[in-house]
Amino acid sequence: MNHTDEVLQNYFQAFSAEHDRLKQRLLESLPAMSTVRPAPAWRERIAALRGPVWLKPSLAAAAVLVVLLSIVMFPSARPDAQMAFATSMDNFSQAQSIHLKVQTGPASMEIWWRRPNEYRMVFSDGMTIVSNDQQRIVLNPKDKTFKVTNPDRGSMDMMVLGPFGMLFTSKDAMSAGWVKEQKLINREEVNYKGQNCLKLTFEDGVRHGVYIVEPELHLIYQATLSPIERPDKANYQMEVFEVNSAIPEDVFQIEQPEGYRLIRQTRSNTTAIPALPVMPKK
């Protein structure tokens, strides 16, 4: 036996560890097998069914019909829509970080958010809001202001996300109550960015919502909301890019650009806000 053989034998010995104990445990937990005769081989079963020659084609046709009906009436197990939606919302509400894009009316924004209260929002008109442990900063290119205020502990800015913003920022278990109100209207299997997903339509008396959900990973990829009386007129669309990814630290930082006026609006009874970290120039 050479050295490699010896090494491999030693390695594979590890898979015998506790074998007897695990075997005992398995055997003790096995349910009673009902005493049945083993199924006869398929040829024997077909031979047993053989009858007069003229029955054969009828039997075959009947079998095909039964199979087709089964497929139509009793489809093989499909992901449960309500469960997939509920679990996806639950996962979303417990996310540690999220990166997504939202379109509301003519405005759109890209958002990075990290628990408990750090976020960056970049709006389509160039406005950027960054909030971290130390401060909240609003960069407004229209009036060239760089406004520094106290940190947004309540994540009020995240309310721009509507019910979705409250899902993962609220301390209450929002998702359970919200999901409970949703009534499933339609279910479709779709291909979304190369993945097999469910397209689920829900209504809750106020809103008509269409969601793209990955039913096995229980991730929500897209949500489109519209008023219930005008389901064709979406007024809110959210696209989720990443959940629980490691967002780089500099996403939650921002530097004052040249030519922008600094405005400090902090509450007088707070301690002095430390100066912004100076970002190295790229």
Binding site: F15, L26, L27, P38
Partner: protein, 178 residues
């Protein structure tokens, strides 16, 4: 003369749990190695192995070709590993951000250290090469049993085994030179 797998399956179906125990003796180690190569953790691999055998027991009545119990069991193991992988992805809010555990160097040749080092070596092999090693070393180094379990030709099996051993040898030499 040892009973065949088909005979043990029939005895199990007749209510003889000890027969299932014998099937466990024959295949649990191979299943454990498949699950270990998925999880990287021996404890989790043991748990998944129990799951594999429980499922096999539950589905035993549906097994038509009882002589194919071994390969059928391996396919169940692969499905369980696939579900485990998906389950890990689902729990991303727990798992994402965790650092990969550092594998400590095998300085004092402790068994746990050895298995971790070899697990790293195994990552350099294809799945078929790993199976060739597992089925060979965990079945008394019997090539016939390994070929039957992998359901490949003898020549393919020997080619996979040789390739796997060569890669392991290269890995070991490389480590010893450091």
């Amino acid at each position: 003369m040892a009973e065949t797998d088909a005979q043990l399956v029939q005895r199990t179906l007749a209510g003889d749990r000890m027969a299932f125990g014998e099937l466990y003796d024959r295949y649990a180690r191979v299943v454990r190695s498949i699950c270990f190569h998925e999880t990287g953790n021996l404890g989790e691999a043991q748990d998944l192995t129990q799951d594999v055998f429980m499922r096999a027991y539950g589905k035993l009545k549906k097994l038509r070709q009882q002589e194919r119990f071994g390969p059928w069991l391996v396919s169940i193991a692969r499905n369980v590993c696939r579900e485990y992988r998906r389950g890990r992805a689902r729990d991303r809010h727990v798992l994402v951000g965790l650092e990969t555990p550092e594998i400590l160097p095998d300085k004092d040749q402790d068994p746990q250290g050895r298995i971790e080092q070899m697990a790293l070596a195994m990552k350099h092999l294809s799945e078929q090469e790993r199976m060739a090693l597992s089925t060979y070393y965990l079945q008394d180094q019997d090539a016939q049993k390994a070929v039957a379990l992998m359901e490949v030709s003898r020549s393919t099996f020997y080619r996979l085994l040789a390739s796997a051993k060569e890669k392991i040898e290269t890995y070991i030499k490389h480590r010893e030179e450091k």
